[in-house]
């Protein structure tokens, strides 16, 4: 078993063999991956050592202290948080060896082609079609041939930067919707892939629409069995929620920070009404922070609680209410907005822009990564054990569903 001391020893060995000061960034990242210190909980040979995930912090701290470059994880969050765990769980040996290393180093950026204009909360109703040419007949599990994909995806962040995408598409319209989906790894440089920025209410375009026209995907880039795509996608989506809910915050670390600062620095803006509302939200933000901290302590102690299901719900609501209060607090300035210029930001920084931006951007928090309405259903059914929603779509072929 690999423990913290052994990881420290291996990290020092890596640093000695590849001193960050005299090693190129990519060379260092390659060496780190090959030493199994990229993500220690991954298997040996794939950037890890099969060590407990909690020990990653040991490696990260040693490398940071030595001034080693990192893989800029915020830029490649979809690859790290969603594509990688799914490829690890469902990929062939060949796929794992081909994709995981450049994914982790950031040489190849990944995006996610899941949501469609007609399939949001009901993602499994998606209509992008993948039809097999050559090889076995569509719907059979035999290997070989190419898949030809047609359809439209939406809300795709990083699509304009991505080399690869995780994609789910319908391969069998004649069976109920959850059973006719297959999961693919899609080459974003294929001539049939067209990426268009999707301008949002903040003025910028964080996301894209992606149009797929006769995109060819070799069967060797299928992840999991034909028709098992929904099962595979659940792995991806579960990891998405882990990624969204996992940050550790100091007191006043979130949206409440800028409002509290403005309140302290600008007494002329204060009113009694705003004071009551601010204090109430401050308390709620602090309790949300403590709840997140408690969840992390439970995970660290190996006793994960169901509270994780609720973290995103609470943060979405608080972000919206707090930023709404902030705009109001600013009075005349609240009538202004910093910049409506259409841009395509690589990173989203909620607190880096003005109150109006925060107010508008946080409206998405209760929609992206599972709407609050769907998450409340999940809490009610999986945590509280209440009856599931009545379903009229489970035993009907996808092609016969209302749309």
């Amino acid at each position: 078993m690999i423990d913290a001391a052994e990881l420290r020893r291996r990290t020092q060995e890596l640093l000695a063999a590849h001193p960050p000061a005299d090693t190129g960034r990519l060379d260092f990242l390659h060496a780190r991956f090959d030493a199994g210190l990229a993500w220690v909980h991954f298997p040996e040979g794939l950037g890890g050592l099969g060590a407990p995930r909690s020990l990653q912090a040991v490696v990260d701290a040693e490398l940071e202290a030595a001034g080693a470059p990192d893989n800029d994880p915020r830029r490649i969050g979809i690859g790290l948080g969603m594509a990688a765990p799914t490829i690890l769980q469902y990929g062939t040996e060949e796929q794992k060896r081909r994709f995981l290393r450049p994914l982790w180093t950031g040489e190849e950026v990944w995006c996610q082609l899941f949501s469609e204009p007609g399939a949001g909360s009901d993602l499994a109703a998606l209509g992008t079609r993948a039809v097999r040419e050559g090889g076995g007949p569509s719907g059979s599990s035999g290997a070989g041939g190419d898949w030809v994909v047609n359809g439209q995806k939406v809300w795709t962040s990083s699509a304009h930067l991505a080399r690869w995408a995780i994609l789910i598409a319908r391969t069998d319209p004649d069976v109920p919707k959850h059973r006719g989906i297959t999961y693919f790894l899609c080459d974003m440089t294929d001539p049939g892939v067209e990426v268009r920025p999707l301008r949002q209410i903040t003025g910028e375009a964080e996301f894209n629409e992606v149009f797929l026209t006769d995109v060819r995907i070799p069967d060797s880039h299928r992840l999991g069995e034909v028709g098992d795509g929904w099962q595979v996608a659940r792995t991806t989506l579960n990891n998405e929620r882990v990624a969204i809910g996992g940050m550790r915050l100091p007191r006043e670390g979130g949206m409440i920070g800028p409002v509290a600062k403005t309140w302290r620095e600008r007494p002329e803006l204060r009113t009694h009404d705003l004071h009551q509302r601010l204090l109430k939200l401050w308390v709620e933000a602090e309790v949300a922070r403590l709840t997140g901290e408690r969840l992390r302590q439970q995970l660290a102690a190996g006793q994960p609680g169901p509270e994780g299901a609720g973290t995103k719900l609470t943060f979405a609501r608080l972000n919206q209410e707090i930023s709404g209060l902030e705009v109001e607090l600013l009075g005349e300035e609240g009538l202004l907005y910093d910049d409506w210029t259409m841009r395509r930001p690589e990173l989203v920084d909620f607190t880096g822009r003005d109150a109006g931006y925060r107010y508008l951007r946080s409206k998405g928090n209760s929609i992206e990564g599972g709407t609050s309405e769907v998450l409340l259903n999940i809490v009610a059914e999986r945590v509280l054990g209440l009856p599931a929603e009545p379903r009229t779509d489970k035993d009907v072929a996808w092609k016969d569903l209302a749309r």
């Binding site: 102690a301 409340l376 929603e389």
Partner: protein, 361 residues
């Protein structure tokens, strides 16, 4: 533990919870509590004796060398969660927490402290239950060692053996219950009734200074009350869930309707928050770190959640929830009274305005 409070329950704390819950399951069912509150003796002194004396829980906050168990607020909080769940009519918060903390703050608290810690006697701080930590409180007149005056809203005074009475000379006095006149007040929460205490020349023994003792006692009371409110809220949710899974209307379990599922899920989220806030306050009281803020946050959050949980439980039970026979009114009355006890949520938010520098206009 200096930067992050321990928000979990230890194995020992879970064992303590299980022991208290077992006892309450056997000896404190809600039908029994409802029957008891209709009598002149709503307190369950047999249950109290088992908890305090038999299990040694009255002395959790008292060091061993002063006759107690030498545990901390974390353990007392777990006991209060369970007592809150059962709406148990025992003077734990008043005697084993508030009066005990007042005595711990006093130079001369020794002998009454040991008596409270052992469970031999019940003590009550004669400060109105509504009083927030740091707020002004009523006093009686001290004249030649005798005390004169009237104090109202004193919780659990009916079962007190000794009252801790603040006087106008700045002292806190121990007064035997036999030396005062107790007039029960018809209380909203019959499981923690309040009474008026009249002193007409009652002899008192000066324990120490009232102001710091009362402040300390009310802060601990407010902080640990959040755990009682957590137990109460959690029980309300549990009962509502049980009912909604069982009750059928329109040929379906009522709990399958999305409008209700969302309300219960929302309540569950708030209770998860309350659990973190209550653990934070208990831990801060135990370690002495960041205590004022942690207590104020917990109290500013707890009362609205506990009240809403009880109100939701009542509404979601429909007509049966309005009956005297059904226990949901016990939760509602306790939750509403708790929302006033040791300062309203608004009073604690106001305290925070000063503590975290978010000043009023």
């Amino acid at each position: 533990m200096s930067t992050r409070p321990d928000l979990l329950y230890s194995e020992e704390e879970e064992a303590l919870r299980a022991a208290v819950r077992d006892l309450l399951t056997d000896h404190c069912d809600t039908a029994g509590v409802i029957a008891r509150i209709e009598t002149d003796a709503p307190h369950d002194l047999a249950l109290w004796k088992t908890l305090a004396d038999g299990m040694g829980l009255a002395g959790l906050l008292v060091p061993e060398d002063r006759g107690g168990q030498g545990a901390t607020h974390r353990e007392a909080a777990v006991v209060l969660e369970e007592l809150g769940r059962a709406v148990a009519p025992v003077p734990y918060l008043t005697s084993a927490v508030v009066a005990t903390e007042a005595l711990l703050a006093c130079a001369d608290g020794g002998e009454p402290l040991a008596a409270l810690a052992s469970g031999r006697r019940i003590g009550v701080l004669a400060v109105g239950l509504h009083t927030a930590p740091g707020a002004a409180f009523a006093t009686v007149r001290q004249e030649d060692g005798a005390l004169h005056g009237r104090l109202s809203g004193i919780a659990d005074a009916a079962v007190a053996d000794v009252l801790l009475v603040p006087a106008d000379d700045g002292g806190l006095y121990a007064v035997e219950a036999g030396a005062v006149t107790l007039t029960p007040q018809t209380s909203l929460d019959l499981t923690r009734p309040v009474a008026e205490v009249t002193l007409d020349g009652a002899p008192g023994h000066r324990l120490g200074d009232a102001e710091p003792a009362v402040r300390r006692a009310l802060r601990a009371g407010a902080g640990l009350l959040a755990s009682e409110q957590l137990g109460l809220a959690d029980r309300s949710l549990t009962e509502a869930l049980r009912h909604l899974k069982d009750r059928k209307q329109f040929n379906r379990p009522v709990g399958g309707f999305q409008a209700l599922k969302h309300r219960l899920a929302q309540l569950w989220l708030e209770i998860a928050g309350l659990r973190a806030a209550a653990r934070s306050a208990a831990d801060a009281l135990a370690t002495g770190e960041d205590t004022d803020v942690a207590v104020a946050v917990a109290q500013a959050y707890a009362a609205p959640v506990a009240v809403r949980a009880a109100e939701e439980a009542l509404q979601l039970h429909g007509g049966i929830g309005m009956t005297w026979e059904h226990p949901v009114h016990l939760y509602l009355k306790r939750a509403k009274a708790d929302s006033i006890a040791h300062g309203t949520a608004g009073a604690h938010r106001e305290a925070l305005a000063g503590l975290v520098d978010l000043r009023a206009p």
